[in-house]
């Protein structure tokens, strides 16, 4: 049976069950009410932390200890502080400068660059590992895997020293530069991503490359025109994960970025709760809330790419 016929048959079968189910709906729903209750409970469970952070963001009370889930006094002050870049200090102290929007921009730049470059570099490496046979291929793959064994925390000291000394010669990738941090991030996750992408590329039939080559494509054209479009799902996943990873990353960003103007959101927001500006949980929560939309939007946007079966119909199934 050809795939098309198979699809038609299964579609017909699916249609059949659907009409049957529709006819029986009242009884079926009667039996599954508990599933809906369970689903609602799970959703509440999942939304609980978000409810808390939202509450804290709108709460005029900056401490968490005495806060209630429904704020006693609702205020937009926390958001205003962030946008205006100034948080009032304790009574008598001058206001503290917080370049929140700068941090926001830094984070987006670093996350976007890291995500795009990770996908690009990872895909290039994975394509080579998947399609070419060369000396050191096995060794390279193994090395990538082995290096990933060590958590990046172990490397913090080494990374710091490397960036410090490199920066002494090439200022634009030294400490306190976004480019330096991006480079560190790119190296950090390369291994896993290359393996993931290689695994996906391996499932794309080699005949597609060969066919394109006979049609007159260079390896680069095969890569851009055939492999990358087909690998869209895995590229989307990896891009998304590196974006999120960078937005969340704290340790390396804290080590490498030491001037307030260069901070990322994670590093900058930390300042609200490490007692430096006294504990401003409310402002912190507002900052966190504002940081969420880009990630959520990216997720929704990439969702349609993260579907399997894109290679369907390439070869006889």
């Amino acid at each position: 049976m050809s795939t098309a016929e198979h699809l038609e048959t299964s579609a017909a079968v699916g249609l059949g069950t659907r009409t049957r189910r529709a006819r029986r709906r009242p009884r079926v729903l009667g039996g599954t009410w508990w599933r809906h209750v369970l689903a609602i409970l799970v959703i509440l469970w999942a939304l609980f932390p978000i409810a808390y952070v939202t509450s804290a963001a709108f709460n005029a009370n900056q401490t968490l200890g005495s806060a209630t889930l429904v704020p006693e006094r609702v205020t937009l002050d926390n958001f205003r502080y962030l946008v205006e870049g100034e948080v009032p200090g304790r009574p008598g102290d001058p206001p503290t400068e917080v370049p929140y929007l700068r941090w926001y921009a830094n984070t987006m730049i670093i996350a976007a660059c890291t995500a795009v470059l990770t996908v690009l570099l990872g895909a290039l490496a994975a394509y080579a590992f998947s399609r070419f046979r060369f000396k050191g291929r096995r060794l390279g793959l193994l090395a990538l895997l082995l290096i990933q064994m060590f958590p990046q925390l172990l490397l913090v000291v080494a990374i710091y020293l490397i960036v410090l000394h490199t920066g002494a010669v090439f200022g634009f990738i030294g400490l306190n530069t976004l480019t330096g941090l991006i480079l560190v991030y790119l190296g950090g996750v390369m291994g896993v991503n290359v393996w993931l992408m290689k695994g996906f590329f391996d499932t794309i039939p080699a005949e597609l490359d060969e066919s394109a080559r006979v049609d007159g494509a260079t390896p680069a054209q095969v890569f851009w025109g055939v492999i990358l479009p087909l690998a869209a799902p895995v590229l989307a996943v990896i891009g998304l994960f590196s974006f999120i990873g960078v937005v969340n990353e704290f340790v390396i960003a804290s080590v490498l970025l030491q001037e307030q103007d260069k901070f990322t959101l994670a590093r900058g927001l930390w300042g609200f709760i490490d007692q430096k500006y006294s504990e401003n949980w409310g402002t912190f929560s507002a900052g966190v809330l504002l940081a969420a939309p880009p990630v959520v939007i990216l997720f929704l946007f990439l969702q349609k790419f993260i579907v399997s079966g894109l290679t369907g119909g390439a070869v006889k199934g």
Partner: protein, 393 residues
Amino acid sequence: MADVVFDGVDKVFPNGVQAVYELSLDVHDGEFLVLVGPSGCGKTTALRMVAGLEEITDGTLTIGGRVVNDLSPKERDVAMVFQNYALYPHLTVADNIAFGLRLRRESKSVIEERVHWAAKMLDLSPYLARRPKELSGGQRQRVAMGRAIVRKPQAFLMDEPLSNLDAKLRVQMRADIAKLQRDLETTTIYVTHDQVEAMTMGDRVAVMNQGRLQQVDTPQRLYDNPANLFVAGFIGTPPMNLLAASVASQNGSVSVQVGEQAVPLSDEAMRRFPAVRGREGREVVLGVRADDLHRADRRPDLPAVNANLELIEALGSQSIAYFRIDAMVIGVDEDLIDEREADGEGVTAARPNLVSAMSAEDAVGLRTGERVPVAIDTKHIHLFDAETGAPLR
């Protein structure tokens, strides 16, 4: 359009396996040449060397008089159709067909014109906007063909393009492809393991086995005059019956001894296989096509042997009768020498070893389990040297 010439081409894979030995083959301009052989015989490797997907270890390969050994696939200007079609799933049918033209930076109007021409040739016009996954197997196959013809390349290379289709569609596409090739007059090398496809489609057929070219000739000549045991056993449906026999002579007339039974050779057979004379007592292989075995009572003029009827398959107009005769079968897939040493492997008489294709009418009254005299039309038999597999011409 161009001729494709293999001259002493070898292929050794990096792991040391040699897939093709000293292949010399001249595919004429505009010819439809079929490369046929069992799996692993090196036919696909040979095709991929023409496409530029495999490096040539030794020898030279020329396309249109140009040595292409070190040219990239792109520079060879050939088109290949893959067994699994290898369509680009993210592109529409039109874009799939236009892919090669786009890479060659043809103008938009040329691309459009050529794509429509190809789609028309292949009845694909209504499907141009679809994606491959929305097509049936036969349609996908035609898209793969379209991608090949649209570029008007020097040669078409086809790697078992029909083997993923069901039997009925395969027969139809077989005719379609053969006709298309004749219309376009493009040199075509077509790889298949199906000898029926080879016989029906090819202007000439090249039979390969274990990396070596066995014989190249027109389908009829391959059938009538196989160059060795392998070709004899490979070409033809049902396959030729190959029985171990020995040569005997009495009063100047020569016969072959099959088991305990003697088959006297006709003058015609002696003329075709003169080398059989003087081989008295030596082992030979007797080859008889299924069509040349008859019921002895219908052909009293022919010498007959007795055999047990094991099975009859009625195909409608024709019936295939499977007999068991007391003689060793010669398998052709393995090396002949090994075969004889292994003794019993594929040399068994436990299975039917004599197959006859007779008219349905003749099969009436035959009952399985009975011992039946089977007449052999010795005019058309084949005799091979048991050791070398060469015909005793």
